[in-house]
């Protein structure tokens, strides 16, 4: 039997307008249109959903967990953060006590 495999589509749902789409799982389907139908039945039977994306799994390029160290910071990156500055103190010193 060779009629049950099909392609895999990853499914992303948006619970309410304005929220980001979130990955919820995947379905088998012969095409994207059917994948939407399958995804609706599988992932939107109960919980709120206003929009679904389906993406062919083989269209996704991902990093590997083995290479997770590429996300580590080699040097101090606090200069990229608001907390990396003592500006509140310095602003007060120049006479500005209002919120930054």
């Amino acid at each position: 039997m060779t009629d049950t495999q099909w392609q895999v589509f990853e499914v992303f749902h948006q619970p309410v307008r304005g929220e980001p789409h979130v990955h919820v799982g995947s379905v088998h389907a012969p095409d994207a249109e059917t994948a939407i139908l399958m995804a609706k039945e599988q992932f939107a039977r109960r919980q709120a959903c206003v929009n679904i994306w389906v993406v062919r799994a083989d269209a996704i390029t991902a990093t590997t967990y083995e290479d997770a160290d590429i996300f580590e910071h080699g040097t101090d990156k606090s200069y990229r953060e608001a907390f990396g500055y003592e500006t509140t103190k310095r602003a007060k010193a120049v006479g500005d006590s209002a919120e930054l």
């Binding site: 039997m1 060779t2 099909w6 895999v8 919820v24 995947s26 088998h28 389907a29 059917t34 967990y65």
Partner: protein, 328 residues
């Protein structure tokens, strides 16, 4: 992205670097980290998970069969709608689980085919017949309760895709359990005929229920390894005990009894139930496909698969741009 993309290399004892990788793997699992599809894992971990998830998926699919049979005979429209929803959930759970197992390298098609060909196992309880509506009530309450004890535990397990599927499944099972209890309360507080039907169903289902969580720890050959790798977090006996402690009082409260031959007694000191051990040879015999309705279940499953073939062919044809064939 959950397709296994990398070669499985050196994942068996004796392979270069195996011991070192195993030590790292076990340390990670012990920390409570989740294992994801692309990660290095021992082949035995992969095989054990494929085996367990495949059986679990098959059980969801086969669990829909006795309940599906009762849809046309439900006693009210409300019960019928709830039963239809439950059956749809179970089939959906089967599909979620087949997807989780696929991330380990076994295709859904192989798993579906192996079930139909009688080469794959499914839960012992679905090898028994659902003779009356009261059986549907007992399955929905007590068997789903027993399954939830198992699934809540497995949802905390080490394999990411399986744990994620189980979180969704447990959420939906909460409706099954509530509805099952609701049905049993109706029967237990109904006419004498209804009460007798419910008790009769409990009497017939108690043996499969006592066997549901699998062989006693003394006999279970996989438990030690499965627990070390956090595939399982509780032994079979611990799960059975958890089920008994929570649900026996609820059953007694409804005026139900358990067949005397089990000699169930509550030990106040250990706060656990003692009982006569089920016949584990019989359990093994049943799950190998020799239960009272094993053959009938597979035949129903096979027919259902055949009856759905034209739909699959039509979908595939539409996707390829060909004309949609009509059913014969």
């Amino acid at each position: 992205m959950v397709q296994p993309t990398r070669e499985r290399l050196n994942d068996q004892p004796g392979d270069p670097g195996f011991e070192e990788n195993l030590a790292k793997f076990e340390a990670r699992v012990a920390r409570g980290d989740k294992v994801e599809p692309g990660d290095w894992m021992p082949d035995a971990y992969r095989q054990q998970l494929i085996r367990l998830i495949h059986v679990h998926a098959n059980s969801e699919i086969c669990g829909a069969l006795p309940e599906g049979t009762w849809i046309p005979h439900a006693p009210s429209l409300k019960r019928k709608m709830a039963l239809v929803a439950k059956v749809q959930d179970e089939v959906g759970h089967g599909q979620l689980l087949y997807r989780a197992a696929e991330t380990l390298g076994k295709s859904r098609e192989e798993m579906i085919d192996e079930l139909i060909e009688g080469k794959a196992k499914y839960s012992n309880v679905f090898h028994y017949p659902a003779e009356t509506w009261a059986d549907v009530c007992v399955i929905a309450w007590l068997i789903d309760a027993a399954a939830i004890v198992n699934q809540k535990m497995m949802a905390e397990g080490s394999y990411g895709p399986y744990a994620r599927a189980l979180k969704r499944i447990c959420y939906e099972e909460a409706f099954h359990l509530t509805h099952g209890y609701d049905m049993c309360i109706s029967m237990a507080t109904g006419t004498k005929l209804q009460r007798d039907m419910l008790q009769d169903a409990v009497n017939r289902w108690w043996k499969p229920i006592m066997m549901f969580h699998g062989p006693s720890d003394k006999e279970s050959k996989h438990t030690e390894l499965l627990m070390r790798w956090r595939i399982k977090l509780k032994t079979n006996d611990a799960q059975r005990q958890e089920f008994l402690v929570k649900y026996l009082p609820k059953m007694f409260n409804l005026g139900l009894t358990v067949p005397a031959e089990w000699d169930l007694k509550f030990d106040e000191k250990t706060r656990t139930w003692t009982y006569n051990e089920p016949d584990w040879d019989e359990f093994v015999h049943v799950v190998r496909g020799n239960g009272p309705v094993s053959a009938q279940r597979l035949e129903t499953r096979r027919l259902s698969h055949e009856h759905g073939r034209w739909v699959r062919e039509a979908l595939a044809a539409a996707a390829s741009g060909r004309r949609v064939p009509m059913p014969n």
